[in-house]
Symmetry: C2
Subunit: 318 residues, 2 copies
């Protein structure tokens, strides 16, 4: 099959289409013919040598795709089924082997491209905010980077769950985007200290900044609050005031999707389809695709992501 291969370590520009062996199915896996593959910031990090695939995962890039089952292996799935897939790798290719528990239906009304654009973000946000932190009606939900890929999804999901949504972003323009999506409290982090605005009020916090915001996040946390860190755009090591955390009876988690075991991914995929798919299908949560590119241009796509000019999702068409 054809797949994207990196020919030079740490060089994003060296991604090129090559002939490679079609994946062999392991027990419990199906073979999917990839129609569209979503592009993630993690792929860019991987191309820079900073995010190696977990042990046992495909060396091929790509954490999400949509396509058609062409070999059901030893599973009870059907050849010809159209599916979206959460992957540990392997999407930048014509075919990918997928554990059956990581298959999702295509949301009704979604194209392959649209489906491939939503899998990672939906599973990430739901698993952290719905399943782990248990966001509920009436909560105040603080989202850092509200205008980003994770943020735009999280705002809509937060509103759908009945939360008051607060966001941070770096410009009035980005905050306007957040407002359109439903955000209630808009904080320009270049002008205001979010910890002052939200002091003791945030029941749930979705953080992509890490160390730089750790102290402020604990300050913003409400009693029994839960913050989940999924990114480190502001560094990894920060000072934690455990006394203040105890005064709030607070909880801090840090998680990643990719490193989870197959059974754990299946648990997340199942819950995401149950809870999020209806919101995609009735338009409560919308997707936002910047543009699509052919598979062969994967390297160019990642470089575009690095430039910072992309506002929605990039998707590769196979």
């Amino acid at each position: 099959m054809q797949a994207i291969v990196q020919t030079e370590e740490k060089n994003t520009a060296s991604l090129e289409l090559q002939e490679v062996p079609t994946p062999q199915l392991q027990p419990g896996e199906v073979l999917v013919e990839v129609k569209a593959a979503g592009i993630n910031r993690a792929d860019l990090l991987q191309s820079q040598g900073n995010y190696p695939p977990p042990p046992g995962a495909s060396e091929i890039f790509g954490l999400e795709c949509a396509g058609i089952i062409v070999d059901a292996g030893d599973t009870d799935r059907q050849v010809g089924e159209e599916v979206a897939c959460l992957l540990s790798g392997g999407a930048y290719a014509e075919y990918v082997a997928v554990p059956a528990g990581q298959l999702m239906p295509i949301p009704a009304g979604y194209s392959f491209v649209e489906a491939a654009s939503i899998v990672e973000v939906a599973c990430t946000v739901w698993s952290n905010i719905g399943m782990l932190a248990g966001l509920k009606k009436g909560d105040t939900f603080l989202i850092h980077g509200g205008a980003g890929g994770i943020g735009t999804f999280a705002i809509q999901m937060g509103k759908a769950l009945g939360a008051t949504v607060a966001v941070t972003a770096g410009s009035a323009e980005k905050l306007a985007t957040c407002k359109e999506l439903g955000a209630d409290i808009l904080i320009n982090y270049r002008e205001e200290d979010f910890a002052e605005v939200l002091k003791n009020k945030a029941n749930v916090i979705l953080d992509i900044i890490g160390a730089k915001y750790l102290g402020q996040n604990v300050k913003a946390m409400a009693p029994d609050g839960h913050m989940v860190v999924i990114g480190f755009q502001g560094g990894i090591k920060g000072e934690l005031n455990l006394g203040l955390l105890l005064a709030k009876r607070g909880t801090i988690s840090a998680t990643a999707l990719r490193s989870r075991e197959v059974a754990d991914k299946a648990r997340i995929v199942k819950s995401t389809v149950e809870n999020i798919w209806p919101l995609l299908e009735d338009g409560t949560i919308s997707h936002h695709i910047d543009h699509t590119l052919p598979l062969a241009e994967a390297g160019a796509a990642l470089m575009k992501l690095e430039e910072g000019s992309v506002t929605g999702k990039l998707v590769l068409e196979v």
Copy 2:
């Protein structure tokens, strides 16, 4: 009624028995005639001016007692019922007003003194390890200060839940006590680094040290591990490596019992009685009383606690 009153701020020696007004019942409260009141380290801190009662709580010391209902107020409880009580304060007295949700039966076979000795530790350990961290069969459970009041209870509970129990303590003698109670992995923290012994293995950690152990605790944590900090014997502010926490998909909580709202305490009390009382009644978890003193000697009791010569629980008899 007679109650212990502190006559000089921050002076533990100035606790004395005085005549004070009997508490007025609020809606949902009952009046309990105190037979025995357990002594906690928190009381010592309070006498030193370091742990003020939460807003609305009694100024009188004492977080746990056992006694007899003498006025059921507007509740459906019965006058004459023998009860153990979780309190925000007020136990060092002849009578205490108790929200009905904080009443527990006396465990079968327990005296008032024995019941008063077990309430705080049972609710603390169960709420954190059972309810919050969800310790389960097969888990490795790390307990710091295994020979302390919290530690000795936690070891027995951990074994009852089917966990492998690891403890830290500062001497061979204390570790021998832990072993007798069922601990499987014994670590003398003066001689060994617990983080090396348990690297990536501890599914649940009960921490009373705080800042000083923060880094090592994260290192010891297993994938999807949960550590709960309830004390700060090693300081409050420490460096947190969020990157390492994310690599484990780890969770850190810090909690306290006393500051919780009435409904939250009721939730904990109910679950503790359901899950822990049977283990007290069949002897799976034993209590350990150092000795009892009359109510009038509360000050002397706290000073004994401060000296560090007490190995079990001190209980006041009223």
